[in-house]
Amino acid sequence: MIVPFGHVLILATLLFLLGACCVVARRELLMILIGVEIMLNGAALAFVAAALRWQLADGQIFALFIIAVAAAEVAVGLALIVAARQRTGAMHGDDFNRLRG
């Protein structure tokens, strides 16, 4: 016996909400990406806990897919940040207010 299933879910919820706060409150593009990473981690934690609760390995496989999707997302996101900085010199979400290249 480890802990009740609900406690792991509460931990995953708090982690997800911390990431959501980071995404909404921070203006720097890098910090927004970091917030998304934290949210994805919370989701993966909930999946692994559910896999243990129902004694099925499928939840762990979905957590692996979450990690893979996060890797692809970070690659494209960081490339977007670098490209945007090269073209406009800005690094904050508020600075991108014109639809022009």
């Binding site: 016996m1 480890i2 802990v3 009740p4 299933f5 609900g6 406690h7 792991v8 879910l9 509460i10 931990l11 919820t13 708090l14 982690l15 909400l17 911390l18 959501a20 706060c21 409150a25 921070r26 203006r27 720097e28 890098l30 910090m31 970091i34 990473e37 934290i38 981690n41 934690l45 692994v48 806990a49 896999a51 243990l52 609760r53 390995a57 499928d58 762990q60 496989i61 957590a63 692996l64 897919f65 990690i67 893979a68 999707v69 996060a70 890797a71 692809a72 997302e73 970070v74 690659a75 494209v76 960081l78 490339a79 977007l80 940040i81 670098v82 490209a83 900085r85 690094m91 904050h92």
Partner: protein
């Protein structure tokens, strides 16, 4: 409540996870945020290990705390010096997100509390890497192909965005 050693480890790791993540979220310098985030991700890996996913814990350390965070650090290191006053900790800016997150959090905690499944104790178990791999490549081979396609699209997109204007 029967507090055994695994439960104590879980609560210690949970406290460490929330602390380091909160520190990472509130840092002004992205470098400090990434360094705290590495500790947070390794803690998640330890939680995976505790919850019976040794292979996922290894992937978490190798991919997340290793590869992805090095990518973050690399991009931060190539950034020019920034205006330090631009991303100050503004209380006004944090009020609305904190309020909304509080609302979502309270409703989610209530839902978890109402769920009869949530009160059951988790039995310690472990998925061996052999079982994990067999399930992954037998039942979920189609999803593996889709993920490989997604990673290729990410590679192509990053290459397209990073090209030099000539």
């Amino acid at each position: 409540m029967n507090m055994n050693i695994l439960a104590i480890i879980f609560y210690l790791l949970g406290a460490l996870l929330l602390t380091t993540t909160a520190l990472a979220v509130t840092r002004q310098q992205p470098v400090h945020a990434v360094l705290f985030l590495i500790v947070s991700l390794v803690t998640v890996a330890l939680l995976f290990l505790l919850l019976g996913a040794p292979l996922l814990a290894a992937f978490q350390v190798i991919l997340y705390a290793g590869a992805i965070m090095v990518l973050f650090l690399f991009v931060i290191m190539t950034m020019p010096d920034r205006d330090p006053g631009l991303d100050r900790f503004l209380r006004r800016r944090w009020l609305t997100p904190l309020f909304l997150c509080l609302l979502i959090g309270i409703s989610m905690l209530l839902l978890i509390d109402l769920d009869p499944v949530a009160t059951l104790d988790l039995a310690a178990a472990r998925v061996e890497p052999r079982t994990f791999g067999a399930l992954l490549f037998n039942r979920y081979w189609y999803a593996v192909e889709l993920v490989s396609l997604l990673l290729f699209v990410g590679l192509a997109g990053a290459h397209y965005l990073g090209r030099q204007k000539s």
